[in-house]
C-alpha cells in the first residue's frame, strides 16, 4: 500500500528512505501557520493534503519530493 510522508525536514525523510515526500510548513505545526487567519490556515492545509493525495496516485521510480 502506498504511503506519502508529509514532513518539514525533507533531508531527514530522504535519509531514512521515504519514497514519496511532501514538505510541510514547520515541525510543530506541519499543516498550519499561526501567522495566518484560521480560514487561510485551513486553505493551506486543504492544499497540502491534496498534494499528498495526488502523490499516492503518482507512479514513481525513485524517491520523490512532490511540489507543494
Amino acid at each position: 500500500m502506498p504511503i506519502v510522508q508529509m514532513c518539514n525536514l525533507v533531508p531527514v525523510a530522504l535519509t531514512v528512505g521515504s519514497n514519496k515526500i511532501v514538505q510541510t510548513v514547520s515541525i510543530p505545526h506541519p499543516l498550519g501557520d499561526p501567522t495566518k487567519s484560521s480560514e487561510e490556515q485551513y486553505k493551506l492545509r486543504y492544499h497540502l493534503v491534496g498534494v499528498a493525495l495526488n502523490a499516492l496516485t503518482t507512479d514513481i521510480n525513485e524517491q520523490t519530493v512532490f511540489k507543494s
Binding site: I3, V4, C7, P30, S38, E62
Partner: protein, 349 residues
C-alpha cells in the same frame, strides 16, 4: 531520616549456597550481609530497615509467586528507595534483581537501583527500566559496586543534579534529556567545531548517530482515488486528551489507533499532542494541523477519496529509535489492512 530496603539472593543473604537456591522469599529486619556495606556507604541520613532474601531458582521458576510475596512483605513498610544486589556476573541473580526492582518500581513508585556486570543477561533485559550500575565480575568488587549504588541513591534522595548515564556509571536507558553544557557551548558552535575537525581530517564524535539508510521498495500507486480508503498515521503524538494508551512523550515504544468516524475535525481539548520534542501550543490549539481530519473529511465529501479511514494511528517520534519505529509500523500494518486501507498519509513533526 530516609529509609531503604535491599534485595539479596540466598547466597548473599546468608541462607546458603546452591543447595538453598529454592529458598522462598523472606524479609528480615535490619541488615544482612551486603546490606551492612550498603548501610555504611549511605551513612547516617538513610537507614537500611529491612533485607529481602529469595533463592535464585525459586525466583526463576516461581517468578510471579515470588514477586507477589515480596510485594506483600513491602506493603506495610515505609521506604524511599529500593536496592538489589549487586549481582556481578551471576545471571540468575541479575535477572532476579531486575524482576524484583521492576515490580517494586511499578507498585511502590520509589527509585530502584541495582548493579550488574556487563556480561550479566539481566543488563539487556532490564536496562531500559531501571538504574543498573556497571558492576564488577565477582564479589571481590562488592565494596566498589555497593558504593556506586549508594552514592547515586543519595543523589536521588537529596535531589542533587543527575548527570548522564555514562558519567554516573549506569547502563544507558535509551533516554535522551536536555542538559546544559559546561562550559556552555551552543549547538551551533559545536556543529561548526565538528565540521572544522571533519574538514581537516581530525576525529570527531557525532552527537546524533544516524543508522544506515533502509530503502523500501516503492509501493504501486492508487489507480482510482475516488474508491480508495485513506488513513492518517502520525509520529506527532496526537491522542485523545487522556492519552488512553499512555504513549510516552519521548522514546516511545507504544502507539494507538483512535476512532474518528463521524468527526468533521479534531477539537482542541478533546485531542492534544503529548510529543515532548516541539512546542505543542499550535497543535493543542488545533490538532488538525497534525492530523488533518477537517481537510480529509472535505475531500471525502467531495468524492476525491472514497473514504477517510475510521481510525487514525499515532505515536511519538522523538528519541524513538529506527528499530522501535519499524517494530511499531509492522504492528500497525495488519490493522490498516484489516480496515481495508488503500493508502496512508504519514504526518511527521
Amino acid at each position: 531520616m530516609k529509609k531503604a530496603i535491599l534485595y539479596l539472593n540466598q547466597f548473599f543473604g546468608q541462607i546458603g549456597g546452591e543447595d538453598k537456591a529454592d529458598f522462598a522469599p523472606v524479609i528480615k529486619e535490619g541488615t544482612v550481609g551486603p546490606a551492612m556495606a550498603l548501610q555504611a556507604q549511605l551513612g547516617d541520613d538513610v537507614k537500611v530497615t529491612h533485607t529481602v532474601i529469595c533463592g535464585d531458582n525459586y525466583m526463576g521458576s516461581h517468578t510471579t509467586e515470588a514477586t507477589d510475596t515480596i510485594m506483600k512483605f513491602l506493603a506495610d513498610k515505609e521506604f524511599d528507595i529500593f536496592f538489589a544486589g549487586p549481582a556481578f556476573r551471576a545471571g540468575r541473580y541479575g535477572v532476579a534483581c531486575g524482576q524484583v526492582c521492576n515490580a517494586v518500581s511499578k507498585k511502590y513508585k520509589v527509585p530502584v537501583i541495582t548493579s550488574m556486570n556487563e556480561e550479566n543477561p539481566g543488563v539487556e533485559m532490564f536496562r531500559q527500566d531501571m538504574y543498573i550500575f556497571k558492576g564488577g565480575d565477582s564479589a571481590a568488587k562488592m565494596r566498589r559496586d555497593v558504593k556506586k549504588m549508594a552514592q547515586f541513591g543519595m543523589k536521588l534522595l537529596t535531589g542533587k543534579e543527575l548527570l548522564s548515564a555514562e558519567e554516573e556509571g549506569y547502563y544507558g536507558r535509551g533516554i535522551r534529556r536536555q542538559v546544559w553544557t559546561n562550559p556552555p557551548v551552543t549547538a551551533a558552535d559545536r556543529a561548526v567545531d565538528m565540521l572544522l575537525r571533519k574538514l581537516s581530517g581530525q576525529p570527531f564524535e557525532t552527537e546524533l548517530p544516524i543508522p544506515p539508510k533502509d530503502v523500501v521498495d516503492v509501493a504501486p500507486s492508487i489507480k482510482d482515488l475516488s474508491k480508495a480508503n485513506i488513513a492518517i498515521v502520525t509520529s506527532g503524538g496526537i491522542v485523545p486528551a487522556d492519552n488512553p494508551d499512555k504513549i510516552q512523550s519521548a522514546s516511545a515504544t507504544r502507539w494507538g489507533k483512535y476512532d474518528i468516524s463521524g468527526l468533521d475535525r479534531l477539537e482542541s481539548g478533546a485531542y492534544k499532542t503529548i510529543h515532548a520534542g516541539f512546542d505543542p501550543t499550535e497543535a493543542n490549539k488545533n490538532p488538525n494541523v497534525i492530523v488533518p481530519v477537517d481537510a480529509m473529511r472535505a475531500y471525502e465529501r467531495e468524492g476525491k477519496i472514497g473514504k477517510f479511514n475510521d481510525h487514525f494511528y499515532s505515536t511519538v517520534g522523538t528519541g524513538t529509535t529506527q528499530g522501535e519505529a519499524a517494530r511499531m509500523a509492522k504492528e500497525m500494518v495488519p490493522y490498516l489492512k484489516e480496515e481495508g486501507v488503500d493508502g496512508v498519509i504519514q504526518v511527521s513533526t
